[in-house]
């Protein structure tokens, strides 16, 4: 219950919040701003100032440069695959965890945190060890003409692994808070599994799902460590946008590097704004996030 609801039945009384003295407030707010300036605003400003250092023309050229475009295409392709796949995985996992009780449930829950705790480089490494061209599995695939490492499928799969938890972790608390009552009611009324899922569960979680998908997408675009290991950095073929940024930077092509990076910054800012918008909508529908 919110503070306002808790106070008095049907009157509009709102309790005044105990507040700190003005001087303390000013000090704390000032310190916070200081932190933000140093760690958020300056970096943001830097990206744009560097990106446009050589002017608008150079900026546009850097973005339209063929390798850059290829990188953009690859990144978009990855996202287009990763997000739906993880949405399906995530919803299934969340569904299983919150609506049922089974052995190993808490193990599964812990497993979801795994990609968070494991360095993306290690994730990439494991992947390479499992399906690299030198391993039995990998060479078998090679004979079939399927190349995973150093090519697109590898990047996609590695990204799936790394961004897997986002959607599930988003949905689990939400679904737990909603409880099983509605689904059980539908069950007693004779609805079947798919019907329950489609008509009851899904509509209830749509905002959380959307939110999770946005986060997942943002992370997929920006994933660097795992993809770095897996992709082989082959320009024009296995470069995602972040990798392209890295290459440009290591060639001391700073301005171009920042120009391409600015695309990612735009996307990140967009993500942040969308997230906020969804949260506001969430609160309006009185769901506690």
């Amino acid at each position: 219950m919110t503070q306002a609801e808790k106070s008095i039945g049907n009157s509009p009384v709102v309790k005044k919040r105990i507040s700190d003295p003005r001087s303390v407030q000013v000090l704390l707010i000032g310190l916070t701003y200081l932190f933000f300036i140093g760690f958020i605003f300056l970096p943001l400003g830097l990206v744009f100032s560097q990106a446009f250092e050589k002017g608008w023309g150079f900026y546009l050229d850097s973005i339209h440069e063929p390798y850059a475009l290829e990188a953009v295409k690859l990144t978009l392709l990855t996202v287009a695959i990763v997000v739906p796949v993880n949405a399906v995985f995530g919803v299934s996992a969340a569904w299983a965890i919150t609506k049922f009780n089974f052995k190993g449930k808490s193990a599964l829950k812990s497993l979801l945190d795994l990609p968070f705790a494991v360095s993306p480089v290690i994730a990439g490494l494991i992947f390479v060890l499992l399906v690299g061209s030198r391993t039995p599995f990998g060479s078998w695939l090679g004979e079939l003409g399927i190349k995973i490492i150093f090519s697109t499928p590898g990047i996609v799969i590695a990204t799936i692994f790394v961004t897997f938890p986002f959607i599930a972790r988003e949905l689990i608390p939400l679904m737990e808070a909603q409880g099983r009552d509605e689904e059980e009611a539908a069950l007693t009324l004779g609805a079947k599994g798919w019907q329950i899922f489609g008509q009851i569960t899904l509509p209830n979680i749509r905002w959380g799902l959307l939110y999770g998908m946005i986060l997942c997408g943002a992370r997929s675009i920006g994933e660097f460590g795992a993809v770095s290991v897996v992709s082989g950095h082959i320009r024009g073929q296995t470069n995602t946008i972040p990798l392209h940024v890295e290459i440009l930077y290591s060639e001391y092509n700073f301005t171009a590097s920042f120009a391409v990076a600015s695309l990612l910054v735009f996307l990140a800012l967009l993500t942040v704004v969308l997230k906020r918008g969804i949260e506001k909508h969430f609160q309006k529908n009185s769901f506690h996030h």
Binding site: K15, R17, I18, S19, D20, P21, L28, I29, L31, T32, Y33, F35, F36, F39, I40, L42, P43, L44, L46, S110, D113, L114, A117, V118, S119, P120, V121, I122, L125, V128, L129, G132, R134, L215, A218, R219, G222, E223, F224, G225, S228, V229, I241, P242, L243, V245, E246, Y249, F254, S257, A261, L264, V265, A268, L269, T271, V272, K275, R276, H289
Partner: protein
Amino acid sequence: MNAVTAPRVLASYRLSFSTAFFAALFDGFAGLLTAWVLVRYRFPGKDLLDALVDLPFALPTAVAGICFATLYSPIGWLGQLLAGWNVQVINSPIGIVIALIFIGFPFIVRTIQPVLEEMEQEIEEAAQCLGATRWQTFRKILFPHLFPALLTGVTLAFARGIGEYGSVIFIAGNLPMKTEIAPLMIMSKLDQFDYAGASAVALVLLCISFTMLLALNAVQEWQQKEYRS
């Protein structure tokens, strides 16, 4: 086995750990401050700051990496400032800590915020009526209440910091024995096709990650238990 215990590798473990630790600690303070200010006060730009807290989370690590590297380079805006005080950030552990501070920051703010928002106002009012000053109320009542959430956030930031790669390698300079982080060790061994070596280092790191995962779980469960009543 030798790979795991070679001096360079050991140095990289130490580095990853200590930098992640200090960054998480700093984030603890900065995150608590930010969460407090965002929940409790009203001031211009509050919504903007609240939204931007998520930026490190949404921003690709590589972008953050080149950003900080350029910002603190000898000719960068802040690098110039610090050079005046003889502080070098690039190619030093300090740079790594700074990058990790950026990365871990949202974890703390977002775990503390809901707890602060849900806090019953009556508790503070009761303390006030009993004669406590604001500082006493904070020290004796509010901070202990926030501590589980704070710990969870710091643990998350720490776990993330140990494995962080993209945002660190640009600013670190990757000097052997000094600013090589553990994930970089793995990377360089892979580049030399030393799969065995890479795997060995990775294994150690993995064990540490698992331990962190268990610790994280324990902390989170403790947190939930503390806040359930």
